[in-house]
């Protein structure tokens, strides 16, 4: 997958999200996205550990099971 985000991709993503970008700011947003997404586009998501556990409970007596 290419690491670069194009101006057209930014416009497509904005349309899908239902938001409007000022045309003179599209390049600024393209740079923000390019830098942020570069590590994701380099990664092999299959080689990463999962994001679990999603939930943990502390069952210590008197504790509200981790609720605060």
């Amino acid at each position: 997958m290419s690491e670069d985000v194009t101006l057209d991709e930014v416009r497509r993503r904005a349309a899908v999200a239902g938001v409007t970008l000022r045309e003179d700011r599209v390049e600024m947003v393209r740079r923000l996205l390019s830098d942020a997404l570069a590590p994701l586009r380099r990664m092999d998501s299959r080689a990463l550990r999962t994001l679990e556990p999603a939930v943990t409970f502390d069952a210590a007596p008197g504790d509200d099971h981790g609720r605060r």
Binding site: D24, R25, V29, L33, A36, L40, S45, L48, L51
Partner: protein, 461 residues
Amino acid sequence: MAGDDLVYAGIRELGTRFRKREVSPVELTEALLARIARVDPTLDTFVTLTADRARAEAKAAEAALLRGDGRPLLGIPVGYKDIYDTRGITTSAGSALWADRVAESDATCVSRLQDAGCVMLGKLITHEFAWGIQSPGHRFKPARNPWNREHIPGGSSSGSGAALAAGLCVGALGTDTGGSIRGPASFCGIVGLKPTYGRCSRAGVATLSWTLDHTGPMARSAEDCAYLLQTLAGHDPLDPVSSRVPVADYVGTLDRPIRGLRIGVPRDFFFDGVDGEVARAFEDAMSTYRSLGAEVRDVTIPSIWDAPSFMVIMASEAFAYHERDLRERPELYGDLLRERLVSGALYTGAEYVQAMRLRERLRNEMLDVLRSVDLLATPTSPKPAPTFAAMWDISLGFPRSNTPPFNLSGLPALAQPCGFAKAGLPLSLQLAGRPFDEATVLRAGHAYHQTTDWHRRRPAV
């Protein structure tokens, strides 16, 4: 005590002088209010000054001192970043959207400092909602850097950093989502601590990004940060991520020697694009640590180049927080902030999840490295403070920073002065430690301050 010496004095020294009756909280508060009146019109650090309240609190502190009250923060004048709620006083978050918002109760951090006897001088300007620097024409003026007013003081705790450097308060509160305590500390030549995630409460503080936001102290020395943290730290039932880990003795362990302390220097990423002056100041600081008996060696964090995915998380969470207002009242957001926030809508759900998975791998690697060393050291910022003109020029992009990896990992990190560029702007060293080991981070900072005087330099304001 001469005027400048008084307003730049540290917390321990002030406590001693209060109790010897060499100076009173009222005299100190009046000296600071007079200095604010003289200096702040050119720096714009305070967005709300609470002079009458400060005078009343200083008077009450003076009476308590006469009764023998021994609280270390009694009578210490502070300022609060204007995203901390303060009961009955406007909390604007530097935004037109909240320009007239008055909270009904204090943020937990504010109430802890007030309960400890601090004197509230006022609210300090923040970048808009802790992310968007105020551009020309914005409802609020941006704070300026006391070392050179054409340069930014850093952000988003811009007023806190600039006010401390200018001698307008003794301590301040900041917040740090990607470096907003450490950046202003770096650019203004002061000291700022981002504690471990969950160490200090976020209750009553405007959100930027739930999983990255931290609150913490800013001051002019590691010792003063230790005094403030001692009061701020501790479980708060009002903050769902607040930790129950016991609070250490930060002040009482400051003077322990650092001989044998192991400092790791991750060369990858943190030295990319670093100015020559910054690199030299950093190496000089490492030499100082070696002379104090610390062991300094290079370390490797294999996934550190994944750190820029930080922005996927921050922007997505920030958009989620602001979405309704962005869609219904976009005109009330500043020009630069609006586009940054909207960028958070452009990431997919899957990208957010993948960024969180990268974050977890990076955090685990940093914890692994911290099994073989006690601290990590890096330059806080790759370059000294840029000019306002550069920040407002969107074609130049967002400046790179060395601070976000420690928001991703939640590790405690301290920024402290370590030199000056030829242009007269401060340079800064970042020290990060193990989770909840703020005591070691502060002790290392304090040891450095005992042999250097960078943190004592004052701008001509």
